[in-house]
Symmetry: D3
Subunit: 137 residues, 6 copies
């Protein structure tokens, strides 16, 4: 068996969102989500790290070509979310609150079918340099 290594590619996208629960009053939303629930949206420069773990291919020395991983992430994730309003412009967050946690799970689900089954996949998403999430934990 070859050695297992993690390879990580960092990408980014800019999007608008607001956090709210449509079954709640404005007051309940403000109490839970604060300024993040303001009705006209705010936005972030999301930084996204995709980690793939697998064995080194002895012919190439790669686990997976990071150029290929970058192309895949751009094709499946960045194109979909970049310069969009997550609540309004995307199917994924029409019913689902676009918290960093939920965005990370959605990104995982978008990428998982396109990553070799023998590879493990991990998502880290920075909403700001001081707030970020990891899935699976």
């Amino acid at each position: 068996m070859n050695k297992k290594v993690a390879v990580i590619r960092r990408e980014h996208f800019n999007a608008a969102h607001r956090l709210y629960n449509e079954n709640w009053s404005d007051e309940q939303n403000m109490a839970t989500f604060g300024k993040c629930s303001l009705p006209h949206y705010h936005g972030h420069n999301y930084e996204l790290e995709i980690k793939v773990i697998g064995e080194i291919d002895p012919v190439t020395g790669f686990v997976m070509d990071l150029k290929e991983l970058s192309d895949l992430v751009n094709d499946k994730v960045i194109e979909r979310f970049d310069h969009k309003n997550l609540n309004v412009d995307t199917e994924e967050f029409k019913q689902l609150n676009p918290t960093a946690e939920n965005i990370a799970v959605v990104i995982y689900d978008l990428l998982r079918p396109h990553i070799k089954p023998s590879f493990e996949l991990f998502v880290r998403l920075f909403e700001t340099p001081r707030n970020f999430v990891e899935y699976p934990a």
Copy 2:
């Protein structure tokens, strides 16, 4: 005369915006502003550096207390723009396209009256880590 030093404070805010000229067709806007003109907004983590140049006060050793500068920037700028939609929620950008250039000039004008006249003032605004502006140039 005492020595002149620049003191710089970095703050940040998150906001949504879109770039467009209301006198233009959607096609003209897309041709000029690309994805930045998409109608439902996108957003950024803006990083803001405020530089003040003045003489060192020999009693305190400060040009200006950076805590005071931070409070001023929060009061006059961050409160106004943080977690807002610049196009919809702010008076400043109802008629003015919220490009980084225009935002920097607006921030300068908001702060200038509250900085001692003998001090020089400079604004640097990062829209992303790779795109930023400085005013005055």
Copy 3:
């Protein structure tokens, strides 16, 4: 069962410290701790990352509100250590050498009682951008 996600909040504090073992001579301390044992203290901008792992609450989309986590870390940790001399001003390090390792364990113990028992907790502490520790490992 809902999906498990890690949420991380980054905070910072500035503090003075020195490293030494009170049972040792100055020479022994210098041999082990080098310049870090100099008697009049030096200091750091500590950057602190607190990670909490738990299931996403389907009502909010949060594992834990990072604003709440930030308030908790400020209340229990930052207030206690910021702008302090760790050796002199704090109970925790009167007998315990304030190495990054020991500070991380102390911070964990300060926070653990205030984090929901079903959540896992992890501390990462940067003493400098090139020296950092993680607990539990």
Copy 4:
């Protein structure tokens, strides 16, 4: 038993390399490695994080003195690779393609004999700020 903590030291080196498989034609190499296979080499500022996990020594408060770890990494790794052409100047990569994955494994093998057997060792290597690897995964 004492508490287990991870301590991490970050170092850097600059090196030239090219990626290719000597059994392949230029066309095959270009198809797999792209610009990274260009014959006259390119280079990187490699950032290297070495993590050691062990119990805190109650006498010093250290798992391992990061100054000692830094000296070890400089002696065994940085001296060997810094300002070198990995393909031409080093024994390790005369037959082995110097991908980030392979470099990380080589660095692990260079350090492992010099780290206390009871300590765990992990290598993270940044080829660029957006491409990095971890070994063991």
Copy 5:
């Protein structure tokens, strides 16, 4: 007259180089350039900031579209130097020592003809995060 603002775009490229003066002995080169003169090259992740100063166009709110500036820098500079050996693969550094100073001047001269004459142009080039140059000074 409209307000003058500086707009800055950050790009990057990876390249190999060595520093030496072909009229000198190896010893002289080593004495002056140290490890940077080693014969088989080393390399860097160069980070490049291009600053353009001009008046805000009141119709667009831009000094210059940073997307256009990015395309120009990629076309004229990044394509030319990325993943290349500066000493061997480029006309510009066949006779000219590829120090950061000289690379910055060459990049300025490559871009200047393509920037509007009324705009000022400045180049900042990071050879490493701790070593960088600016031209014109």
Copy 6:
């Protein structure tokens, strides 16, 4: 005349300090300097950028060898302040309040005699990533 370029070297040191005016009461000091005046000191990871502007030497392609500049800064500044208590351990700040402004001026004065008279010299000092100063302004 040869082209003028700025070359910049970044170094760092860790130190303890407190801000206060010895002619004032504790209350006055607390009112002006806040937590920075606490009697037992706090500290910082200072990041220091030294910029030298001069003409490129056509023989080397350097304005000034950044290795030499680094050695000079380490010899004259870092050795003096690193892991020290600025108020207690240094002559420079026995009478002078160690604000970032004053530290920058002192560093300039320490370096100026050792830099070629035809070169310009500038100091940028980061007390934290969000608070920094520049001298001369």
